[in-house]
């Protein structure tokens, strides 16, 4: 019953713990476990013998000092270094008894706390929106305030560069929707109604939503990451101290750029999705493009197209403001940017869908 680092010597009720070798935190667990099995509490007196050890680190010394206190044992050691370490540990050990405890929350407390947190977050977002409007008014008061260069830059960054991906995505969606419905329509011999179906669904709903999804994933997340990084490197603070209002220089150009370009992107999405539909109609339903377009002219009123386009600026505002807001609340740590970028995409998509639902109800009730 011997351990590589510890030998027990019983002699007339006196227990001597003979340690040897390099006593470090790597072997601590092993020695602790071994000693625990030995049931040493019966001995009247415990002596710790450190004459044969070659090294003692502070972690092991903490353990030894624990034993010393519990059994009022005596330490045999002639090396001043080890004695020094033991003394150091003993001195600091005094303060450790007050246990630090993490506060445990019960169910109601955590529900209340998270509700309160979300409510405050909502309020702070509302504050942000309010600030956007007030700085927008200030912005319009003087045409010199308008940062044309920044707006043009953002239009290029977040819209023109997004054109190919918006076009491709909506083309594919048009293709897929047309293809799926072509099969069903053929069963009833209602081939020509594919035009009615595509016209309504794409112009009113699909094109704006596809555009919103692509832009939220591409430009909204970029806003969060850019502004978040600027926040961490204190660039935003620097701008403020130099008298550059971040709302004027960072926020409004992005929002305005997206509001201007979003309807254009939706228009592109409309066209590309329709192109997909025309191709499928020709290939699987034998409807010629000219027939398709004639039918489209007949059955789809122009209002359906406008309904889709009108949603654009609203979606743009939601995506840009949520993305930028999430960038501004990035905290000074590395996790925060990733967390807020994810949140900005999820929240802006959610907001876009809620907004779409509201539009849908409103337009239906207005008879549009």
């Amino acid at each position: 019953m011997n351990n590589k680092f510890l030998k027990l010597d019983y002699d007339k009720g006196v227990l001597t713990l003979v340690f040897s070798g390099e006593l470090t935190l790597y072997v601590l667990q092993e020695v602790q476990g071994y000693l625990f099995q030995q049931n040493i509490s019966q001995s009247k007196k415990v002596i710790i013998d450190l004459q044969n050890i070659t090294y003692l680190d502070t972690a092991f010394a903490l353990f030894l000092s624990d034993i010393t206190k519990r059994y009022h044992s005596q330490v045999l050691c002639s090396n001043t270094n080890y004695l020094h370490t033991l003394k150091l540990v003993a001195v600091h050990h005094e303060g450790l008894n007050k246990k630090y405890n993490t506060h445990k929350r019960n169910f109601f407390e955590s529900v209340g706390k998270s509700f309160c947190k979300n409510y405050l977050a909502f309020l702070s977002f509302m504050t942000f929106v309010g600030k956007i409007f007030s700085s927008f008014l200030l912005y319009l008061k003087n045409s010199k305030n308008i940062r044309y260069k920044e707006i043009a830059f953002e239009i290029n960054e977040s819209a023109i560069r997004a054109l190919p991906i918006v076009a491709l995505t909506s083309f594919l969606i048009g293709l897929v929707v047309a293809y799926q419905s072509a099969y069903q329509l053929r069963l009833y011999g209602a081939n020509i109604f594919i035009v009615d179906m595509l016209g309504l669904s794409i112009f009113r709903e699909l094109a704006p939503l596809i555009t919103a999804i692509v832009i939220a994933g591409r430009s909204g997340s970029a806003y969060t990451a850019q502004i978040g990084a600027m926040k961490i490197t204190q660039e935003i603070d620097a701008m403020q101290t130099m008298g550059f209002d971040p709302y004027r220089f960072l926020v409004l150009p992005r929002i305005i750029a997206l509001i201007i370009t979003f309807p254009i992107l939706i228009f592109v999405a409309d066209m590309m999705a329709m192109l997909g539909g025309i191709i499928v109609a020709k290939v699987s339903l034998d409807i010629t493009p000219s027939l398709f377009i004639d039918r489209l002219n007949d059955v789809i009123a122009i209002k359906h197209f406008y309904v889709g386009i009108v949603k654009g600026p609203f979606f743009a505002f939601l995506i840009a403001s949520i993305g930028i807001y999430r960038g501004f609340i990035v905290k000074d740590d590395t996790q925060s940017i990733g967390f807020n970028t994810t949140k900005s995409v999820v929240e802006s998509l959610f907001a876009v869908i809620v907004c779409d639902a509201i539009f849908s109800i409103a337009f239906t009730n207005l008879g549009i």
């Binding site: 667990q29 972690a59 353990f63 020094h84 150091l88 007050k98 630090y100 905290k331 000074d332």
Partner: protein, 245 residues
């Protein structure tokens, strides 16, 4: 006193710019050794080379008996556990609390009970003068001085023999900086540490250093104790130590 670090004829170049042109120095056990020099002279580069974060072009560095230029990955890992590094801005992991930052290596490299780890963490916090209640704060919630103390506690988690400090007092107010000097001296006397410090702070140079090397113009302009440094003819040294003459 044995020599813990031996730097021989180190040459480093970034592209076409030569940073080190044959550096030689040695650090003895138990001393606090300073790396000084004008900014951009490659002090931090030399420190990074010593802790194997950066490679040098030629020469050799021997640390704790290991030649680090031809070291196997296993030996390198072993060596990494024997030293601690304090980075200029602390480099605490921002997603972990102070306690978790300190416990990280303990959990990773040793098998210890949870209670024992807590005790070790609490002891290290005490050692660097942080309160137990600070243990559950995140790095973003504490001040710069506390951050440095916490990251020195993290560096000390495995009881290293050797500690590298990169500008430990930069960004601290003078009072915290002097407290930190005091802490460095205390840790040396309590734990018998050997330290290599990159510093610009004249007060901490006079308070803490035993010996130092002054890097200037790609070479070591001076290596030795503080007393003799002012007798050296070198523009940087004369400028830097002028006030204290």
């Amino acid at each position: 006193m044995s020599v813990l670090i031996e730097v021989k004829n180190i040459k480093t170049a970034f592209g076409d710019t030569l940073v080190h042109d044959g550096l030689n120095l040695h650090v003895k056990e138990g001393e606090i050794y300073g790396l000084l020099g004008p900014s951009g002279c490659g002090k931090t580069t030399l420190l990074r080379e010593m802790v194997m974060l950066q490679e040098f072009d030629s020469g050799s560095i021997k640390i704790l008996g290991q030649q680090i230029e031809h070291i196997s990955e296993v030996k390198a890992q072993e060596l990494r556990r024997k030293w601690g590094v304090l980075f200029q801005f602390g480099a605490l992991f921002s997603s972990l609390t102070i306690a978790e930052n300190i416990a990280l290596v303990l959990n990773e490299y040793a098998t210890l009970s949870k209670k024992m780890i807590e005790e070790i963490v609490a002891f290290k916090l005490d050692l660097v003068g942080l309160k137990q209640s600070d243990a559950f704060l995140y790095p973003s919630e504490i001040s710069g001085g506390m951050r440095k103390k916490a990251s020195i506690a993290r560096a000390l988690a495995m009881d290293p023999k050797l500690l590298f400090l990169d500008e430990p007092t930069s960004g601290l107010d003078p009072i915290s900086a002097r407290e930190f000097d005091e802490l460095i001296l205390q840790l040396r006397s309590m734990l018998g540490l050997t330290m290599v410090i990159v510093t610009h702070d004249l007060d901490s140079i006079y308070n803490t250093l035993d010996r130092m090397a002054v890097l200037d113009n790609k070479k070591i302009a001076y290596e030795g104790s503080l007393e003799e440094v002012t007798s050296i003819k070198n523009d940087f040294i004369e400028n830097f130590f002028r006030e204290r003459k």
